[in-house]
């Protein structure tokens, strides 16, 4: 097993000394992360696996800035993510949610969704006073449509012919494909994938994973993918990290992962899954 910090740290994702907890019903407190550190070099595709409650999705939320009150340092390409505002963070981070309904606007068309995602890499609108500038021009216009058709066509996606359809009419797999394309528009520095194939059938899952790998390689984006699927964990990514109770209990490079006996990994994952997480502080005070 290699050390958690593999390769060069900058300018990829660097999580240092991260601590975060949350109150439990009653007066309890669960300290999920204690001085957690993880460094991902630029362009590395990291797969996070672990049992429910191990902190995988929470880690993604902390990096994405949707959970408050974390101590420690999270840097992306040298930028301190915790100091950035939502619209600033959105410029550097693309995210695909677990639920296909969450990552897109079902009432808007495919082209309008793509326009929204594309817009986040331009001067902030409804965010930093650039309101009047944002009023210039109607969108998505003909030029936008041509650009999107070309983009989707190049990726071999049939969505290229459905630009003006409401996203609510697409299948779950198509929505997740669109969500993935939206998250990678403008080549974000970091791609967060939160069990993004969990709600898909095997065929759609294979399609979305193939596209995921292709886009990450093409763009050279650093990626963190959370999954419960051992098959996905063993078959994708440059690095596999297993979490349990907010701690990395396994960290393998792709080569090390190849050499792993899948049965031992399965056993390790299974053992982690059945363990309870004893982390309530009796007096209810938030542990540091």
């Amino acid at each position: 097993m290699s050390s958690p910090a593999q390769g060069l740290c900058a300018p990829g994702l660097s999580i240092e000394d991260l601590s975060w907890g949350h109150p439990l019903p009653g007066s309890g407190w669960r300290q999920l992360f204690r001085s957690f550190s993880l460094t991902c070099p630029l362009g590395q595709f990291v797969v996070l696996i672990g049992s429910n409650g191990s902190g995988k999705s929470t880690l993604l939320n902390l990096v994405a800035g949707t959970l408050p009150d974390a101590s420690g340092r999270i840097h992306l390409g040298g930028r301190p993510l915790q100091r950035l505002r939502d619209h600033q963070r959105a410029r550097w981070i693309g995210r695909v949610m677990q639920n296909p309904l969450e990552g897109t606007c079902p009432g808007l068309t495919v082209a309008e969704n793509l326009r929204l995602a594309e817009r986040r890499h331009r001067p902030a609108f409804l965010a930093s006073g650039a309101l009047l500038g944002a009023l210039g021009g109607l969108h998505p216009n003909g030029a936008d449509r041509r650009r999107y058709r070309e983009l989707l066509g190049d990726l071999g996606l049939p969505l290229a012919d459905r630009l003006d359809e409401p996203v609510g009419q697409l299948s779950g797999g198509q929505r997740q494909t669109l969500s993935l394309v939206m998250a990678t528009l403008g080549s974000p520095d970091l791609l967060l994938l939160d069990e993004h194939t969990a709600a898909l059938d095997p065929r759609a899952e294979a399609t979305v994973m193939e596209l995921t790998n292709r886009l990450i390689r093409q763009l050279g984006t650093t990626a963190l993918m959370v999954t419960h699927s051992l098959e996905q964990a063993l078959g994708h990514g440059d690095r596999l990290v297993m979490l349990h109770d907010g701690r990395p209990i396994g960290d393998w490079s792709a080569a090390e992962r190849e050499a792993l006996d899948p049965r031992s990994l399965r056993a390790m994952y299974g053992a982690a899954t059945v363990k309870e997480a004893p982390c309530t502080v009796p007096d209810g005070s938030p542990a540091p």
Binding site: A64, T66, D86, H87, Q88, R89, A90, R91, R95, M97, L101, E102, G103, T104, C105, P106, G107, L108, E112, R115, L116, A117, R119, R120, A124, F125, L126, A127, L131, A134, L135, G136, G137, L138, H139, M182
Partner: protein, 295 residues
């Protein structure tokens, strides 16, 4: 008989701003905004007070819209900055607006006996004063619908629609939810205040209580318009909502013609809307549940 239909048409167009504002908050932003009851009367009262003191009608309308926007801004800020529940934020603003409107008007009722010069200058199409109003209000509403359609097709409009459609996704794409919601609610109440001003000018007076039940009226207009046209794009939805306003006023005119007492109008409107909420396709966040409550 023609004057009855023409009057209903004119009134419908005067009320169209209320329907458009309700559409913007409820359908686009997914925000049940009760401020409209206050901002409708605020618009009517402000315009009546200014016009009665000799202010030019366009300026009076502009000030009414501005005040309506400010009322919406207050609701938006109460909700987004202070974390007050959406319905309660609107109720708070509306309650306060009653006193503000009364202060502005100086008394509870201001008559506006003279038809604005701008309306008198329009062709009457052989239909008298109501014909002039019909021409003026039709042009004004078509212009307004065109303007809103264009605004909704900009990135700002797209952001507002995304906020109502999927706030999580909107936030992940860098849209400031607080600012977007506040801007949208302010704009919607500007439209509602414009409607209040136009209604006051058309009916020849403004009353401090003229806004009571405005949200219900606006909802009724939105439902009727959407049921008739079943729009699938924003411009069509705006047209549908304006048409709904006209049809709603026409239905009221018919009901009155059939012998319904004017005093029972609001009860009849409320019952109609209740039926639509309980059994119809209408699903409004915060006002109706998607499924039956668990017992």
């Amino acid at each position: 008989m023609l004057s009855l239909w023409l009057g209903a048409y004119d009134q419908g167009l005067a009320y169209a701003g209320l329907a458009l504002g309700t559409y913007l908050t409820l359908r686009v932003l997914n925000f049940p905004d009760l401020t409209v009851d206050g901002s409708f009367a605020l618009g009517g009262g402000t315009a009546a007070m200014l016009i009665s003191r000799g202010t030019a009608v366009p300026l009076a309308l502009g000030v009414a819209i501005l005040f309506g926007c400010l009322a919406g801004l207050v609701t938006g800020l109460i909700h987004t900055r202070l974390g007050v529940n959406d319905l309660f934020a609107g109720i708070l603003t509306t309650t306060g607006l009653y006193s503000i409107t009364l202060r502005l008007m100086g008394r509870s009722n201001i008559p506006l006996p003279e038809t604005p010069a701008g309306i008198q200058a329009l062709p009457d199409l052989g239909l008298g004063l109501d014909g002039r109003w019909a021409v003026g209000l039709t042009l004004a509403m078509l212009g307004l619908i065109l303007l809103i359609s264009l605004l909704m097709a900009t990135d700002v409009g797209l952001a507002l629609r995304a906020l109502g459609d999927n706030p999580t996704m909107a936030r992940a794409n860098g849209i400031n939810q607080r600012r977007g919601l506040t801007v949208g609610i302010a704009a919607a109440n500007g439209l509602v205040a414009l409607a209040g001003a136009l209604v006051a000018m058309y009916q020849g007076f403004a009353d401090v209580t003229m806004g009571i039940g405005s949200l219900i009226l606006g909802l009724g207009m939105v439902i009727i318009g959407e049921s008739v046209l079943r729009p699938r794009s924003v411009p069509w939805a705006l047209l549908a909502v304006a048409l709904g306003a006209i049809l709603f006023r026409t239905m009221i005119a018919i009901a009155l013609q059939l012998g319904l007492e004017p005093v029972d109008l609001k009860l009849a409107t409320a019952l109609l809307l209740l039926v639509a909420l309980a059994f119809g396709r209408l699903r409004i966040p915060g006002l109706s549940d998607h499924g039956r409550l668990q017992r």
